[in-house]
């Protein structure tokens, strides 16, 4: 008997968005399944971020519709708490608060108390190598630390969909790899991921499908199975070792 494909987590049909009468995106159809990583690539202004915002329910489509687990995307925030995790190039954290205070605040909005936020994020913060940095004010941390915290927040509610907009832009290779690693692991456990990126190597290695967007979907490339993390080259290992030694006790 043929095995039924898992139901789509996100469904977009004829999705379009006009800004000031000018079409930014038109006619996008997308079915996103659990455990699938879909990459969005294309030129600046091609509609990648717009599509991501439409999927997050942060923009209303001017054509078509988006549904997340059957709910209109714009209703998801209110009715399906934490089903969508979001990570943008700007980490979006309060700089004067510590990482932990940021996580507790956002967790609180989802009804979690401080202890529950700590319990949920503990192993994840270890995975992201954040350590003591989580208790320092965010403005004193590096871009990598902020982006990892933002990823921890995106995963806090155990979402079914993770939307990533240039998640590793401006990050050093070690931080970028850590983020890709966590994203890939979560996808392997069933998380559906959409990622906008200009990093074609990362897109090719991490994604099952890659859509080339330039106002509409110009091309869709499918890869039958995940090929692991992006290659790092010969410099990566000594680079990481040197950093590890510097961070030592």
């Amino acid at each position: 008997m043929e095995r039924a494909a898992p139901a789509s987590v996100v469904t977009a049909r004829g999705l379009g968005r006009r800004v000031g009468g000018r079409p930014v995106l038109a006619g996008v159809d997308l079915d996103l399944h659990p455990g699938e990583v879909v990459g969005l690539i294309g030129p600046n202004g091609g509609g990648k971020s717009t599509l991501l915002l439409l999927l997050a329910g942060l923009l209303r489509p001017t054509q078509g519709e988006v549904r997340v687990q059957g709910l209109p995307a714009t209703e998801v925030a209110r009715r399906a708490q934490g089903r969508v995790g979001l990570l943008t190039a700007d980490p979006g954290l309060y700089p004067l608060l510590t990482g932990r205070e940021n996580l507790r605040f956002f967790g609180g909005l989802y009804g979690l108390d401080a202890a529950e936020v700590d319990r949920r994020t503990g192993p994840l913060l270890d995975e992201l190598h954040l350590g003591a940095a989580v208790d320092r004010p965010v403005h004193t941390g590096s871009s990598g630390m902020r982006q990892k915290l933002s990823l921890a927040r995106a995963l806090l509610m155990d979402p079914v969909v993770l939307l990533l907009d240039e998640p590793t832009a401006n990050l050093d290779p070690v931080s970028a790899r850590t983020i890709w690693q966590v994203v890939r692991q979560r996808a392997d456990r069933g998380l559906a991921v959409v990622v906008c990126t200009h990093d074609l190597v990362a897109a090719e290695r991490l994604c099952e499908r890659v859509l080339l967007l330039a106002g509409r979907v110009l091309q869709e490339t499918t890869f039958p199975s995940p090929r692991g993390l992006p290659p790092v080259g010969q410099l990566f290992a000594p680079y990481q070792d040197a950093l590890d030694r510097q961070e030592g006790p």
Binding site: V84, L86, T88, D90, P91, L97, L109
Partner: protein, 260 residues
Amino acid sequence: MRRVLLVARREWLEHRRQPAMILSMAAVLAMISGLVLFVALLMALIESQPHSKALFEENLATAGFQMQDPIPTVIEGVLSSFNFLLFTQFLGMTAVLAGHAVVHERQCGTLPFLMVAPVRRWELVLGKVLGAVGTPWLLYLVLGGGTATILALLDVTAPFAWRLPPASGWLVAFLLGGPAWSLALASAGAALSVRAHDVRTAQQGVWLVVFLASIMVGTVLGGALQEDTVFQLVVALGGLFFTALGVGAATLLLRRDIHL
């Protein structure tokens, strides 16, 4: 309401991490208090010494101010200025803080993450309004309330007891009217900050609100203390009504449909 308080608490936490900002606000109120107390205590001292009092009257007359008993006139002017400045500065501080409320979220890049969280827009706006009122309210309560209490203890202020505690009109204006109108101005500031995409626009909008409020609300709260308690209660209710309007307007303006 839990999420409202959560947003407000986060705002207060951010304020606490900026002691220079709190010191600036405290300095404004402390300067008003210091000046008023200095003049009132000086008048009390002059009043208690007949020779000094005669010299003071003589000097005033030389300067062209012919008055039978100048001390009560000075005290009335001081108390009137104190109440007007206390109320207007409190309102102004909250409006300025609230005027940056949503602009601050845009600067931090946190707005998209708040919009995907299950916090309703009115909860976010009200939380920010309460967050803007909290720190100035504490300073107003301690510095303003403390100064007014000390002034009320001086004999020279006795003829104008209705301008100070424990006069019921003053208590209603101080404990209800001031906070209610500060909420109203904070909600107006929040509404402005929703539409302002940069700090400069927010600041100019808030400046307009503060200017209008200083003239209208400051005059009603500080200048109408001789009216009965019911009048001051109506003024306070008016503040709450405008707060609801402001929060409603800001909620409508704060669309979930945002641009990063």
